[in-house]
Amino acid sequence: MTDKKNKWYMVTLIGKDRPAIVSHVTAALYEGGCNLGETSMMRLGGNFSIMMMVEFPGRTKELHDVLVTVTDSLDLHLHIDKIEAKLHQHLIPDVRISVYGADRAGIVSKVTSVLAEAGLNILDLESDVAGDKDKPLYIMHIEGQATEGIKSLQSALQIVKDENGIDAELAEIDTLIG
């Protein structure tokens, strides 16, 4: 359980994907006296990536010692940052944007810079490369907050679509609290 005296760290792990990475890593953390907060773990192009909030009473070096045996054995690159943990303060997204098109350099940059100028605060972004080797397809999902209203984002997105020949769609998110 959360103890105010404990410190929070962001632990980043990256390596070639193989079975049971999550169970091995989390077992080491549990046995080392750690508590997990919010995490994101996923396979990205054959690699497995983990970012997790870890609550631990000791220092960075000691947390490193808790993990290093297992991360070495799994060939995972280990990185630890001390962080401020802001739990129980989720922001609720009010807009969802999907973008897809033939994959080429610069899509994310063009889309996100125009949307940022139009007031988009990104809370969550996931993207995939689909299609095949000869005709790769780029697919991106964004959830965020429209800080300057939906219309501002809609017109911005139209411009990016027209200029870059990509498909994109924006939908408002109505969150029901029942």
Partner: protein, 171 residues
Amino acid sequence: MAVLDIITYPDARLKQVAEEVKTFDDDLLKFIQNLEETMDAGPGGVGIAATQVGVMLRIVIVDVSSYPRLKKAKHHGRLVLINPEIVDWQGMKKGREGCMSVPDFTGNVIRAENIRLKALDREGVEQQYEMEGFEARAVQHEIDHLDGLLFLDRLVSRRNDLFERKKKNEN
């Protein structure tokens, strides 16, 4: 009148099936008033089920009229639904939900877009309703509570879903 305490998961009562209301009396009316007041005091507050205050009876209240983006949409205003039953439904749509009994988390849930519903009102008279969209979603969320289901039981991944299918004539 009183604002009742909202119970939150993992309180076991949220996973239990509520019982049908059989007696329509002053006590019931008083409880419904308190439940309305509790819903109005809550964050968001477009719906509430009796089980969310630990009363295991099949009563829900829904009122989407205060939801900012729905002021012009078709809805029924304040609805007290006793022993509600969805008799028909059509269409599926993904939408985001949260719950007063599950603070600080929202997620995507698939619900029917249009529903037909019968329920008793606070006098015990059977009423029928047809509803759509956000109001239909709210009613489904609340009726789930009466069956011991939370929106957490119906979460779908936000990944791997491309654009929502458009209705004809939209755009």
